[in-house]
């Protein structure tokens, strides 16, 4: 058994967050892959969220009415194997990336 944290994936079109409309599962429920687990509303649409895995719902990280930002945990599942599931593309790090360092001017 392993835990799988399902984070709110990149919603595209520059959208930064989504509101939980309702959950269709409760903590403790067993779910199948692609089973609809809830509804999320973005500024543009309300969408059904399919489960990214088969397993047991350990934790729902947000309640109906809560705003979840892209990359934040949405649901934690207990799964048989922590294999790669289809969980959408989560931006690895929203913080800026830099490799270049500057040398300040002398004068």
């Amino acid at each position: 058994m392993a835990d799988l944290v399902f984070r709110l994936p990149d919603l595209a079109e520059g959208l930064e967050d989504a509101e939980v409309v309702e959950w269709r599962v409760a903590e403790g429920d067993r779910v199948a892959l692609n089973q609809v687990i809830g509804d999320l509303q973005t500024a543009k649409a309300t969408v059904e969220i399919p489960s990214p895995c088969a397993g047991q719902v350990l934790r729902l990280h947000a309640a109906p009415g809560d705003l979840v930002r892209v990359g934040e945990p949405l649901v934690t599942f207990a799964v048989d194997e922590a294999g790669p599931g289809v969980v959408g593309r989560v931006p690895p790090d929203r913080a800026r990336v830099r490799r270049v360092r500057l040398r300040p001017p002398e004068s």
């Binding site: 270049v100 500057l102 040398r103 300040p104 001017p105």
Partner: protein, 322 residues
């Protein structure tokens, strides 16, 4: 003051204009019943009715033709073209009539059109949804061109664009649509360019979505002891040369950042003006960090196309070393 996203600030600006001036009309594809694909016109049709906020057919040239005719009849049309790339079918109307009617009629007709144009990339859009058309419009005499970078400016500048008797192309940076800040809903006469961050070693010049990128660069540079000034041009036409020149005359170094391709992009105009006005105080050539000279790439590659923090930092190093 309420904290608003840029989308909400634009919505508030349109609501203000519809309320204050009965000549204001809002129309375009899906702006009425749906409230706009980005929600900018959300709720306006139900508040102001279908005669003042209405849907049009999918025909951009027609949308502009309607706007021009209404403006000649004394209305203040605020048409929306849904995406930058869809503004090209309307170019004939824009270049041939919108930009010219005030002059052609020797001022007899106002051309009080504020053309709202969701613009630029960075949101993973498909083809035709991520173009940077500012140079086309800034090069067309008779048009004013403005691009806000933050919610407060979006509100102030849109109100001003709608009230302007000249045609204004209003470029909305889609990548900043969901950025939030506290917004005063009392319109203030937003001037020309603004210094978005004060600094001393070099000036970064940008507009629209790239202002935020330059602010990120300035923060990164500060960690290395380099102090960068960021000038947000806001208006590309007319260009506020004085704010620009005052900054670069002091820092002696400038890097212009835009998403549009480099060749004949608006950065070339900024660079030329700085050369003309600041030649004696420049300590390095004015550099440009831009999109590449290729058609806008697929969403999976756009992070390689849009100027990154690192690409701007490399240019900063070059002007510091010159």
């Amino acid at each position: 003051m309420p904290e608003l996203s840029m989308v909400q600030a634009l919505n508030a600006a349109l609501r203000h204009c519809l309320r204050e001036d009965p000549r204001t009309l809002v129309f375009g594809e899906d702006v009425g019943r749906l409230g706009g694909v980005f929600r900018v016109t959300d709720g306006l049709q139900s508040e102001f009715g279908q005669a003042r906020v209405f849907d049009t057919p999918l025909a951009e040239s027609g949308i502009m033709g309607i706007a021009i005719g209404l403006a000649m009849a004394g209305w203040r049309p605020v048409p929306e073209i849904q995406f930058d790339g869809f503004s090209f079918p309307a170019l004939d109307q824009v270049l041939t009539n919108l930009a010219k009617y005030r002059g052609r009629s020797r001022g007899a007709y106002d051309m009080a059109v504020a053309l709202r144009l969701p613009s630029f990339g960075g949101i993973g859009g498909p083809e035709h949804h991520s173009e940077s058309p500012e140079t086309l419009y800034a090069h067309t005499a008779g048009l004013k061109v403005v691009a806000p970078s933050r919610p407060q400016d979006a509100f102030d500048l849109l109100v001003r664009a709608v009230e302007d008797p000249d045609p204004v192309v209003f470029l909305e940076p889609k990548s900043r649509y969901w950025a939030r800040e506290e917004v005063s809903l009392t319109p203030s006469p937003a001037g020309g360019a603004r210094v978005a961050r004060a600094g001393e070693h070099a000036t970064l010049v940008a507009w629209g979505g790239m202002v935020q990128r330059c602010l990120e660069v300035a923060e990164a540079a500060e960690e290395d002891g380099v102090s960068l000034e960021v000038v947000d041009l806001r208006w590309l036409a007319p260009l506020d040369e004085e704010t620009l020149v005052a900054s670069v005359a002091r820092t002696g170094r400038a890097v212009v950042v835009h998403e549009a391709p480099r060749t004949a992009g608006f950065g070339a105009e900024v660079s030329a003006r700085l050369m003309e006005r600041c030649f004696g105080s420049l300590r390095a050539p004015v550099l440009r960090v831009t999109g590449w000279d290729v058609p806008y790439p697929a969403a999976s590659a756009e992070h390689e196309y849009i100027p990154s923090v690192d690409r701007v930092l490399l240019a900063v190093q070059r002007v510091l070393d010159a």
